[in-house]
Amino acid sequence: MERKTIFQIRALYRDDFRVTGFSFGHGERAVCIVGSMRGNENQQLYCCAELVRKLKALEEKGCIREGREILVIPCVNPYSMNIKKRFWSIDNTDINRMFPGYSEGETTQRIAGGVFEAIKDYTYGLQFASFYMPGRFVPHIRIMKTGFEDVELAKKFGFPYVVLHTPRPFDTATLNYNWQIWETRAFSVYTTTTERIDRVSARQAVEAVLSFLQKQGIVDYSGFEGYVSKVVSTEEMVSVRNRRAGFFEGKANAGEYVRKGQLLACIVDCYEGMVVDQIYAPLEGTLLFSHAEPKVYENTAVYKIIPETEDW
């Protein structure tokens, strides 16, 4: 294992800003794995730390295939992680809205540019990503429809779901999108949580990544075989929304199979304690996402259901 500095900026009063990478094996740039980009992505950082630990052990046993190099970057934004701020410390910009970056531009453009320059030539690109909505996910692989997406390859992770996402304008400045445009086969790996560490789903994600690397001939590894993935597009998913704001009392969680008409959650008045809204499943299916905050605003997508289909 070689620890190296991918990108660095000198600061005035803080320690230098460093993006650190860990490389395993030598030769062709086979796969790059990126962890947290935002200061609250603890689960994504944790997944990478576990991956570094496992790859180090595999390398010591000679299980990284000859002529293959793996790069893991656990954190692209240590400054924000260390002060518990989600976005960039001074100007609150999001590094994952700055790709492919610009070396002569503003600070986060330079960070994105410096990192992208180091990682754009890998065959496969994996990012442990997070969603802006607070809640729990069923672990899945997400790929953007850019014309370069490879759905069959995404199934090799063995996650229950592969989610196809149509990019919106702001997605065009994300790492995943730009990796694909630069012809890296890019995948976003979603585990259950963001701020809180869920060791079970982190382990599942790390096993899925190692299994993928084994199937692509990058490591020798026998472990998790996984699921036969079901492919769904974000357009197929059904959002279930609450009509009223208040305390959120969830009765079902991400991963559960629900029947049409099943009670999913109650909304409780924050002053008087009575139930002001009940949320029922509008159809049969699996909950891909469930809200996980004590309170909820009105009209929030508190659940996302993958409808049951005949081929499942």
């Binding site: 924050c270 605003y297 997508a301």
Partner: protein, 309 residues
């Protein structure tokens, strides 16, 4: 008349309400409508002065009004109230969620309802104040896709500068792009600096808006002679200055000044060592239309922009 544009109930004994002031002739009058919008970014307050002036002045001279003026001073009331650029609690930039979605989350719903209310205006001003880091001369920024329709309006708006910039996919989620895309002409004004009000700039734009209203037949009262703006449409005309090192920026020049090649614009210093880390000199001759106001800089932070001339 103050009306509610959109309202959403919050969890604990409060509603989020976005309001507008509608000023129109008591009877009859023309059918033209102008909308003045600000406060998408909660830390940009320059538009507050313009809204205050227009609302007060037009009510005082209501007899001269021949059309409708809608004034929206706070599209992001939570942000303004909490000194937050984005939407607090969501950490979202409100100017990246348009055109919104009436079936979407609260913020998407608000965005969609706001647009629904404004679409159909004959002209919209979307007033910004750069951000807390930079001071700008009064200017209008126009996406090249909408140049033909917007430049004739912008020329009459009493600003110093019209910057026609290239199309950018990311900007398709902005308020102004969404309106321009459906045929509602919308001018994006940038002036002054975040968290402050530069009354002279506010007065300048207030006069520009009255002048445009007069030209559009909405206003029959006093008119003003407007400035002839500098117009730039070539990307190579604008020179960006970025900090080459982290430190404290001390400026030597003010925005709006003309610079000769090699002029000292400012220094980046280290207060701990007492040393100058970097002297920032003008790489070209031209007009300094943006200058950094906030002293702390990281490597790469924007220091200023010069229009070559």
């Amino acid at each position: 008349m103050i009306t509610t544009v959109v309202k959403a109930d919050l969890p604990v004994d409060e509603s989020l309400v976005i309001r507008k002031m509608r000023l129109a002739p008591a009877q009859g009058g023309g059918s033209k409508r102008i909308s003045i919008v600000t406060g998408i970014h909660g830390d940009e307050l320059e538009g507050q002065y313009v809204c205050y002036r227009l609302s007060g002045y037009l009510q005082e001279h209501a007899q001269n009004l021949q059309g409708t003026v809608d004034i929206y001073p706070a599209l992001n009331p939570f942000g303004i109230d909490s000194i937050t650029r984005g939407i607090p609690a969501f950490d979202l930039d409100m100017n990246r969620i348009f055109p919104g979605n009436t079936e979407g989350d609260m913020n998407e719903y608000l965005a969609a309802e706001i647009l629904k209310d404004i679409i159909g205006s004959d002209l919209v001003f979307d007033i910004h104040a750069s951000n807390i880091f930079l001071t700008e001369v009064p200017q209008i920024r126009i996406n090249e896709l909408h140049e033909a329709k917007l430049v004739p309006f912008a020329r009459e708006a009493n600003v110093d500068f019209i910057w026609i910039h290239g199309a950018n996919t990311v900007l398709e989620s902005t308020f102004a792009y969404s309106l321009n895309a459906v045929g509602t002409p919308t001018l994006v004004v940038e002036m002054g600096v975040g968290m402050r009000i530069t009354q002279a700039y506010g007065e300048q734009l207030f006069r520009g808006i009255l002048h445009l209203m007069k030209q559009m037949g909405i206003w029959t009262g006093e008119d003003y002679v407007v400035k002839k703006p500098v117009i730039s449409s070539k990307p190579e005309d604008v020179c960006f200055l970025n900090a080459s090192a982290s430190g404290i920026f001390l400026k030597n020049r003010e925005h709006g000044e003309h610079l000769e090649h090699g002029d000292l614009i400012g220094r980046i210093v280290n207060p701990l060592t007492g040393m100058i880390i970097n002297e920032i000199k003008a790489p070209v001759s031209g007009w300094l239309f943006t200058i950094r106001e906030y002293p702390v800089v990281n490597e790469g932070s924007l220091i200023g922009r010069i229009l070559r001339c």
